[in-house]
């Protein structure tokens, strides 16, 4: 296999800047995203702590992967791997991923004017943005996008619906992916234009927010169109960013779920012994740890090749996404079971991981989806 040989040559390259960033985020999250904080903010409509989020903006993390000319730190998107991994471990909820996706699309497809107008605001936290990609049919392939943008004299009139728009309900503007003839088109819709068209989805994962948007009859001006680059390429890039960051969240979350469970297994006693000394539990935790370590390796590999065009990039990303989200779901599932009766309560933190794992499992392509593509790439059938 071609892919394999490449993996041999330069498997994982690590960057000091990215490492430092990840460490800072990890420390910050340990302080500010305790289980109590997570529960407090997940019960609010927006789902996040605006004050902390402003602090994150100040620390420069929102703009980390944007060019310096737009107020960013000029790092690769791959440098966000450790950032989101640290957030995932602490179940941190915020529009970080949503805004990153929108910003990346604008960076690739926007005109210079659009970029300089919008990106600095996203980098400094002044505005939130979202990307409207998926639709109510629930399919993941870009080809399944059915929303239409019809060109009129004065601009565009839209048809269709969008679903699973991460943090769409509190975004200052939403980038909408639609079809225009055979091509894709990306349109900027400000909050004001979407009034009455957005409803919050009720999610299994209470630490996140997503929305449905009814596009039918929505009119947008001509300059709503991102007109500086290829829309399809921008969407494909956004997908890859989403795979990487969801895999990173899953890596962190699986670690968090494992740690929570280990703490319980070390202290809870039954029949006079800590329950973690029983092999049924101990060996399963070892299995989870091995899966996490192997998954993290797949993740760092994906980050390593993130900026290199080619089949290996897509393969690495899809593997990391599919494998880590399933590892997370497994770790969280066993977390409930091994907490026994406690695990069955809402009060026990294990359920937070279970629910978030479900999100990572089904957002941006589930395992069935990515494995299908992987089989095609690897075996050319």
């Amino acid at each position: 296999m071609q892919a394999h040989d490449e993996a041999q040559t330069a498997p994982i390259v690590w960057n000091d800047e990215a490492e430092l960033l990840a460490q800072n985020v990890s420390t910050f999250m340990a302080q500010h995203s305790s289980f109590e904080a997570v529960r407090k903010y997940m019960a609010t409509p927006t789902g996040f702590d605006a004050q902390r989020y402003a602090q994150i903006a100040e620390l420069g993390w929102l703009g980390a992967a944007l060019p310096a000319s737009y107020g960013g730190a000029d790092l690769s998107v791959s440098a966000l791997t450790g950032v989101v991994e640290a957030m995932g471990q602490r179940l941190y909820g915020s529009p970080f991923t949503a805004t990153t996706l929108a910003a990346q699309v604008i960076l690739l497809a926007g005109t210079e004017a659009q970029r300089s107008q919008l990106l600095p605001k996203l980098a400094n936290g002044e505005a939130h943005a979202a990307l409207a990609l998926y639709e109510p049919h629930g399919a993941y392939d870009l080809e399944q996008i059915a929303a239409k943008a019809e060109r009129t004299a004065s601009g565009f009139v839209l048809h269709g619906d969008k679903a699973a728009v991460l943090d769409g309900q509190h975004a200052d503007f939403v980038v909408i992916a639609a079809r225009s003839g055979n091509d894709f088109v990306l349109l900027l819709a400000p909050k004001s234009a979407l009034q009455g068209r957005i409803r919050s989805e009720t999610l299994v994962d209470e630490t996140r927010r997503s929305a449905r948007i009814s596009l039918e009859g929505l009119t947008l001006p001509i300059d709503a169109k991102l007109a500086g680059g290829d829309a399809r390429a921008a969407l494909e890039h956004a997908e890859r960013v989403a795979w990487l960051l969801t895999a990173a969240d899953a890596a962190g979350g699986a670690e968090g779920a494992m740690q929570l469970t280990l703490d319980y297994l070390r202290t809870r006693k039954q029949f006079g012994k800590p329950i973690g000394s029983y092999q049924a539990l101990k060996h399963t935790m070892v299995e989870i740890m091995c899966l996490i370590e192997e998954g993290r390796s797949l993740l760092y590999r994906a980050a390593t090749v993130f900026d290199q065009a080619g089949a290996e990039r897509e393969i690495s990303l899809r593997m990391a996404k599919a494998q880590l989200s399933e590892t997370y779901a497994f770790a969280a599932d066993r977390g409930i079971q091994f907490h026994g009766g406690m695990g069955f309560t809402y009060e026990c933190h294990a359920q937070l991981f279970l629910r978030r794992a479900q999100h990572d499992l089904h957002a941006f392509g589930d395992a069935l989806h990515h494995r299908r593509h992987l089989r095609e790439s690897l075996f050319q059938i």
Partner: protein, 405 residues
């Protein structure tokens, strides 16, 4: 109990037709709200009232407790008839019997070990559903280690004074009685000594229930606090200090290792056919999910497992086929059925693509989010009544003769 004559195949067929007709006529209308999948999931007064009325109706028709003694309100009939009723109920997908603890655990135990007075007092109302029973084995500090119960019962004249906390009380809010394990003597040589078994009343002073919120976000269990609650000594089942022996009997009923239950559906059965239906209806990338050979392979595995399980449970009735381990299948039933349910629900969720993230309450959630909630609720059965891990210990030790760990 002497077993009545076994009905002939023709009698069974006739009876089956009678039951089928009765169900067709009397099955309750589907409620607007989500019907719970089991008694552990009853969360609202509306749900409870609906289910209680249904049980009363079934009992009045003579279709519940058919094998129990006539003098205590039972039918005195052959168990094959009750099995027909239960299987027809499953086929018709009617609601389950809400008084499960009474019908499946407390009732059979009272019938086996209780006094005539206890049987006369409790059994008829267990069957009619007039008095709901709950179970008080687990305590906050002793999930699986039931014999380690710390709750105390102190004898004072004709009464016992109860102090302690029981957890995971299903239907705690509605129950009239609790089967309860408490310590009457702390000086015994081991934790198994000094336990006593009570048929404790719930609606008396100094007994309070606190609802527990489940991981699904709904309510379903309570924590029950006894703070100097006084009960009559006649509430003792068996002799003082014999509590562990009585509890073993109850657990045998719970784990299905012994017959004698009142019958009727205990929970809404989940069938692979429902998930096959999901896979036919849901589309993935524009095509029915079932078009994916990997989806079909998973479904096939579930079908094989389901068949193996169901055929096994039926096979226990043919002694020649039970083989060298007569208790193997009854004892493995709980483990296999509950773990199967958990995996099957998770799989049904996994077919839903990006919409799998929608939960109960979202207008666009597939099937109202039932599978998502069902997956989370499935843990109540893989944990409650002895976790799957404990079940495996028990089977390994008692059926396979492997030593204790």
């Amino acid at each position: 109990m002497e077993q009545p004559n076994e009905p002939t195949p023709a009698e069974l067929d006739a009876f089956r037709n009678e039951v089928r007709a009765w169900i067709a006529k009397n099955a309750p209308p589907k409620p607007k709200w989500k019907l719970p999948d089991s008694f552990m999931e009853v969360g609202t007064d509306e749900q409870f009232a609906y289910l209680q009325a249904w049980q009363a109706k079934v009992y009045k028709a003579g279709y519940l407790g058919m094998t129990w003694p006539v003098e205590y309100g039972g039918g005195g009939k052959h168990s094959a008839l009750q099995r027909v009723v239960t299987s027809e109920m499953a086929r018709a997908n009617v609601p389950f019997m809400v008084n499960v603890i009474g019908l499946m655990w407390a009732g059979p135990t009272i019938l086996k070990l209780g006094t005539h007075e206890q049987k006369a007092e409790y059994i008829p109302k267990i069957l009619s559903g007039e008095e709901i029973w709950c179970q008080g084995f687990s305590e906050p500090e002793n999930g699986s280690d039931l014999a380690n119960a710390q709750m105390t019962a102190r004898r004072e004249g004709d009464e016992y004074v109860l102090d302690g906390t029981k957890i995971w009380t299903s239907l705690g809010k509605y129950a009239a009685h609790m089967i309860l394990l408490a310590r009457t003597d702390k000086s015994g040589p081991s934790k198994y000594h000094g336990l006593s078994f009570f048929l404790a009343p719930m609606r008396i002073p100094n007994v309070t229930t606190v609802p527990i919120k489940k991981l699904t976000g709904e309510h379903g269990f309570t924590e029950t606090h006894f703070e100097g609650a006084r009960i009559q000594a006649s509430r003792l089942l068996g002799r003082e200090g014999d509590g562990w022996a009585v509890a073993i009997n109850v657990l045998a009923f719970e784990r299905g290792a012994e017959g004698g239950q009142a019958g009727g559906l205990a929970m809404v059965p989940l069938r692979v056919a429902q998930v096959i239906d999901v896979a036919r209806k849901l589309t993935r990338d524009g095509k029915p999910a079932i078009d994916d050979p990997l989806v079909r392979e998973r479904l096939l595995q579930f079908v094989i497992e389901e068949r193996g399980l169901e055929l096994s449970l039926q096979r226990t009735r043919i002694p020649a086929l039970a083989g060298p381990r007569p208790f193997a299948i009854p004892m493995m039933g709980k483990l296999r059925v509950t773990e199967f349910r958990r995996r099957l629900c998770a799989f049904a969720v996994s077919l839903q693509g990006a919409n799998a993230n929608l939960y109960v309450g979202d207008p666009d959630a597939y099937s109202d989010g039932d599978w998502q909630r069902g997956y989370m609720n499935a843990f109540s059965a893989t944990i409650g009544g002895g976790t799957s891990q404990i079940q495996m210990n028990i089977i390994g030790e008692r059926v396979l003769g492997l030593g204790k760990g």
